[in-house]
Amino acid sequence: MLRFAATRLVAALPVLLLVSLVSFSVMHLIPGDPASVIGGPAATNQEIDAIRQQLGLDRPFLEQMLAWYGHVLQGDFGRSILLNTTVWQAVVDRVPVTFSLSVLALFMTIVAGVPAGVIAALRANTAVDAAVTGMALLGVSVPSFWLALMLIVLFSVILEWLPTGGYVPFAESPVDWFRSLLMPSLSLALLQMGLLARITRATMLEVLRQDYVRTARAKGLPRVMVIGKHALKNVMVPVITVIGISFGLLLSGSIVIETVYSLPGIGRLLATSIFGRDYPVIQGTLLLTATMLVLVNLVVDLLYAAIDPRVRYGR
């Protein structure tokens, strides 16, 4: 298992190299640079050139890229052009926000999505199934942006239960931390719940038709045991794949949610740095996010082995 994990990590290196190469090239090739953003539209050509020189952006593309790789290999992701801080610090400051948001949203997704899918499968082609499938479809289709605003109107303006936005660190107040993340997580989770419920339902329907389920029923096992022990465990393999994908989607979906709820997370950092052409932050954030996704995929692969005894790595 350890060897498998190590191999997978080594195999991820070319992927990360490619990600950084593409992000570096694309950002430098599209028009517009940090100098023109800092200078604004009223800046003269000379002023823009002077800013560019101050930021070291007048050096040849290849020289800038090689210098960046050289520093990254030494663990230095560089300094942000627009924020008065290092890229590493900018990312580290924001990871707790996005991580809490994603984990809470993932928790809500699993707690609601899996049971909803199972119930829909067990009551296939009934009103319950139609209701769950309908809700799932609605969850996937409603724009998260609109949903987030509606939640603010309901829970903040009308009911006055939750704050309209902003983030409170866990260390400051665990209760306020939870309150500040509840609506954003729910907005993110509602999207994913639908997806997860539909996958769980489809897989469960397939599993319920399998011989071993029929055998389990035939030998008189209680329904809870048949579903809970035999069927659900087999449903979990594709479900875990979807959860892994969901985690990646949660990270990208957080750009919109972090904007609406004013959360200073990774998504917001990435969006701001793209609009401001803050190259070091864009490259650093993409590289670190890609690394995180590689790790999540690795965890998913390892979970397969834990759930399905037929899957054995490293033999």
Binding site: I30, P31, T44, Q46, I81, L83, T164, T259
Partner: protein
């Protein structure tokens, strides 16, 4: 239903009443105010930023030697006064005594000198100090500027707040752009800056109010920090800002959408504070690329446009139509060239196209998706120009790409923009783009350059105003710039907020929170 201009006017009157009804004597000291702002603060180094969000925060923390009053005319702030030598080459600024920095150190001429030196080295608009020959600090309380040549607009330039020459401790002199310690002499000092989240400023207890004034006056005046703290919270989404104001989490918000403003008008706890003439919507015109290389085609475009329709769609009804390239009330305001503005005569425009020999050449419009109002204005202009038979292509980019494209004269005919602060600080920087050798004069216009030279060099202010009127007329006549109208920025505050008067940036001095 849109907020009409008449309703906006009523709101402005209300705001003025609110300000005058809240004398400082009756105001309560203490309280923590929360301001909801729409853009993230990129940096707190004002020498190296043109961002409005930076200004919103930093102008409450830093001060300038000379700044602007309520009408946007130059006025001393950290300087006690100024003296100009008879040859116009030497400016002497005796400094106010007893002014302290947030780190406890007393401000002297050495700090002013160092701050100006830093601005000359890295300041984005350091061109405004191009005429400076020497900066001197003959004693701790005097700062002297010697110029190479006469520059009658010198005080206007150094008091402009587009990229203000803020004063910092001398130790900051060698810091690169964006790397400064946020220490100033203003009524509030920095307590916490969490990028993408908020900036927290607290009352500076050792603040020395300028006793030469009675009350609030632009960025100068007698400033008193009555609040314990101000939290400037980034709330990018307008709907969330309005919700935060309604629940009382936010005390003041900026950029309220017109439709939400309509709803807030019925809320007794909330006061709308419209800032008229906040931003001027317009498009630059490229004289080097066909078909806009032809004056008759440019005139046809100018004649065809219906500014009311453009501004109505672009701003949801919060606008004023006026031809000035300055805002009404500014010292240099003029309506010269008004005969060319908002003509809206498609038939005459078609005639001009025929006269120009226009034959289906493509007109390229560049606009951006980052500012909705600029995008919407471009959509309406595109349709109005198609209606007179022009072949129009609209290219939409994000702001950074649009700015970069503008520098390539072969890619566009009309480039959509907005000018907010530029026109408010006077006529010398706002339209410099069309003056040689700046950004937008791709085809020489010696007449315009000559008028501009007179504008910046005539020692007589009344004469300078006449030159500016000629300048504006020439801009219209040659169609260098297509002005559509002025946008009203709607701010709103809880009724508990007292003494808050709308200005180019929110000022938190002389503002208090009632019960």
């Amino acid at each position: 239903m849109a907020l009409t201009r008449r309703e906006v006017l009523t709101g402005t009157a209300g705001a003025a009443v609110l300000a005058t009804m809240s004398p400082a004597a009756a105001q309560r000291r203490g309280g923590d105010l929360v301001f909801g702002q729409e853009a993230s603060v990129p940096t707190l180094d004002m020498h190296f930023s043109t961002s409005v969000a930076t200004r919103n925060t930093a102008m409450n923390m830093y001060e300038m030697l000379v700044t602007r009053d309520e009408r946007n005319a130059p006025v001393p702030d950290l300087a006690e006064r100024w003296e100009v030598a008879s040859d116009g080459l030497t400016y002497t600024f005796p400094l106010r005594r007893g002014v302290k920095f947030h780190n406890g150190k007393e401000m002297t001429s050495a700090d002013v000198l160092a701050s100006w030196e830093r601005y000359r080295r890295i300041g984005i608009q350091r061109r405004i100090l191009a005429a400076v020959e020497k900066l001197e600090a003959p004693d701790a309380g005097t700062f002297v500027v010697r110029l190479k040549e006469r520059q009658p607009t010198f005080l206007d330039n150094i008091s402009a707040f587009t990229t203000p020459i803020t004063i910092h401790p001398a130790e900051e002199k060698d810091k690169e752009g964006g790397r400064i310690e946020p220490i100033g002499t203003g009524p509030y000092r920095l307590a916490e800056f969490v990028a993408d989240s908020h900036v927290l400023i607290r009352r500076f207890d050792d603040y020395a109010s300028n006793t030469n004034h009675q009350g609030t006056d632009g960025f100068a005046g007698r400033k008193q920090a009555l609040l314990d703290s101000v939290r400037l919270r980034l709330v990018r989404e307008p709907g969330a800002r309005v919700a935060g104001l309604e629940t009382g989490e936010l005390h003041i918000v900026e950029d309220v959408p017109t439709q939400a403003a309509q709803r807030l008008r019925n809320n007794r706890d909330i006061q709308l504070l419209p800032l008229r003439h906040w931003w001027l919507h317009a498009a630059w015109v490229n004289h080097s690329l066909p078909p806009t290389d032809n004056l008759l085609v440019r005139r046809a475009i100018q004649t065809a446009l219906d500014m009311e329709a453009i501004m109505e769609i672009a701003t949801d009804g919060s606008y004023d139509l006026q031809p000035g390239l300055q805002y009404p009330g500014n010292p240099y305001y003029t309506d010269a060239g008004k005969q060319y503005y908002n003509v809206h005569d498609p038939d005459r425009a078609k005639g001009l196209l025929r006269e120009a020999g226009y034959r289906d050449q493509e007109l390229v419009i560049i606009t951006n998706s980052s500012y909705n109002s600029m995008y919407s204005a471009a959509v309406v202009v595109t349709e109005q120009l198609r209606a007179i038979g022009m072949k129009v292509r609209m290219d939409v980019f994000d702001w950074a790409t649009a700015i970069a494209r503008r520098r390539d004269r072969t890619t566009w005919n009309l480039w959509f923009t907005g000018q907010g602060t530029g026109p408010s600080v006077g006529p010398f920087t706002a339209l410099i783009d069309v003056v040689s050798p700046q950004l937008n004069q791709f085809v020489p216009d010696p007449t315009l350059d000559a008028i501009y030279a007179e504008l910046v060099s005539d020692p007589d202010e009344a004469a300078r105003k006449r030159h500016f009127a000629r300048f504006q007329e020439r801009v219209y006549e040659q169609v260098h710039f297509l002005k559509f109208g002025d946008l009203t920025k709607i701010q709103a505050a809880r009724r508990t907020v007292q003494g808050f008067t709308p200005y180019r940036i929110p000022r938190f001095w002389n503002v208090s929170l009632g019960a």
